[in-house]
Subunit: 337 residues, 2 copies
């Protein structure tokens, strides 16, 4: 989640007029892949496409890739992008809604300075574009269409490369000054393990996939046995993806098991802390790791969380995200009203 104000506007609007189409586009811009969908007003996905996120070049290359993959999704739906009512993008980094830019998108290539995603992508697609924070749009998706439709106040927990949180209170997203929901950096072990953010003891230092990979590599280098990196190479992955972790677990890999056990403990403490602060009705767990490990791990995280909750007589519901792999793109499409 970004560190800059998101202000009151939920999204950035381009000046293009709204179209009458009942079709919207949604793009989930991740550090690993770009997922695009075309969806109708009955929330049926009419077409979808995905491709790896460019690892070289810069923001324009990423925007070009987003246009390409949305074009492919539109092709699959049998329409042109310019016929869509609009396209919502769930993006990492710092979003400036007034300027229509995204900056400091950490996992994307050479993307430090603000880049005009709204105008650039809007020009390529021939329709209006709105950009929202990826975690917030995914939470909104689960809230409106997914696992949490029965609840008014929820915490979305997106367990992937890092751990992001989306907060909805009484039906409305809570952004704070733009950086609310940074639950990955809740401290669960003061003075403890170094986090990828540079701080110590954050939940993400134990449960973020990136931090888990760093830890696995260190322990492997120190002589601990693991097949994690063999599996990674065999599958042609540049890093320990959720799929690599899952495969290692299937093989009974001890190190993978140990690190995932630690991650569950950390998620239990960190999300439990959030529940003590917010007292929301439901927690929805998504993200690459959350979706890959599914209900069994949601159950484990819930079991690790409950002991930390003070109002122990009525803990929140803990739910697996229902929108699955397409959740990010579906949530982003909701930016288009």
């Amino acid at each position: 989640m970004p560190e800059a104000p998101k202000a009151d506007q939920p999204t950035t609007r381009s000046p293009r007029p709204a179209k009458a189409s009942n079709l919207r586009g949604g793009i989930d811009l991740g550090g690993t892949k770009i997922q695009a969908i075309v969806i109708d007003d009955a929330q049926t996905v009419m077409g979808q496409a995905r491709r790896p996120t460019p690892t070289k070049g810069g923001p324009q290359d990423v925007v070009d890739a987003m246009a390409e993959v949305l074009n492919a999704a539109a092709d699959a739906a049998g329409v042109t992008t310019s016929s869509l009512r609009g396209v919502g993008v769930g993006s990492p980094g710092v979003i400036d809604h007034k300027a229509g830019t995204v900056a400091n998108a950490g996992n994307l290539p050479d993307w430090k300075d603000p880049f005009p995603v709204v105008s650039s992508l809007g020009g390529l697609l021939g329709t209006k574009v709105e950009v929202g924070n990826d975690v917030d749009t995914a939470t909104q998706g689960e809230f409106e269409l997914g696992a949490a439709t029965d609840y008014k106040s929820i915490l979305g927990v997106f367990w992937g490369t890092g751990i992001g949180g989306g907060i909805i209170l009484n039906g409305k997203p809570w952004f704070g000054r733009g950086a609310a929901g940074e639950i990955g950096h809740v401290v669960i072990n003061e003075g403890g393990r170094r986090c990828t953010c540079g701080r110590r003891g954050c939940m993400e230092a134990y449960a973020g996939r990136m931090a888990m990979e760093i830890r696995a590599r260190k322990l492997h280098d120190d002589g601990k046995k693991t097949d994690l990196f063999k599996i990674m190479e065999k599958r042609g992955r540049p890093r320990l993806t959720s799929g690599v972790w899952a495969r290692a677990m299937d093989h009974g890999d001890d190190l993978a098991k140990e690190l995932l056990d630690e991650a569950v403990v950390a998620l239990g403490a960190g999300v439990g802390s959030c529940v003590n602060v917010l007292d929301i009705e439901a927690v929805v767990i998504g993200g690459g790791m959350g979706i890959r490990f599914g209900q069994p791990f949601v159950d484990r995280i819930e079991a690790a969380m409950i002991p930390h909750i003070l109002a122990s007589d009525r803990p929140p519901a803990v739910l697996l995200g229902a929108l699955g792999d397409l959740g990010g793109a579906i949530g982003a499409s909701l930016l288009i009203k």
Copy 2:
């Protein structure tokens, strides 16, 4: 803070009609003392009184004591309690707003079952009574009249026997399902020190005055030198009050210093976690310990907190509660509109 729903109503209203008086009463019902005030609509305290909270008997004895001390405050203001527009009570325990009861008031004598504070105290005082959660009313006091009048979204941190949190977002208190703001039980050290709540690693296990006393006694029993208990006895206190801790610090007591250093580290991590979740504009620090140790410790807590905040370029303001010792009672008086 209570574990039961506070629902939407901020307070419990008795059926008595409102009076035209410009004077209100406020009672801060603490585990150690009962503080009462009479205050006018210009928010000038016209009379005040305090007495120790009964340590024996039951809820009726506590209610009798509340009536007695409010009568003394009214005497000081030159009025009778029945002439007041109403009396607000900031109470620990579980408040049932519909029933007008308080239950499970942990630090008060034999107070488990719901007791009808609104009707009982209202009868004794001859005016309407409203009861709110003590931490929430104190936070509202700082928000409306104290340190945080310039902000819309704040976290009140009440550092005393335990650590309670009051949350105001965009001008409105956030109660969750009644147990929001239980910041004392944010986990700062997973698997760490035993908390007075029975859990492990809570912020309160390191920074709550009760937990600090338990820790001090254990270390003292183990042979560690300290004057804490001598000072306590000399001052005729049954426990390590904030004043005892302050006196020991003034004497350069090593154990007091060590435990207060730990408390500051814990408060930094725990409150920092809350800031990462909520991204509020300001943190107000009050409570017995917070007020006793004042600005120098607020500065230390802020310094310990900043390194944990992800949005490090614009941390919240960290402020000492401005209403001081009377803050609880003044906040409670705001329950009367």
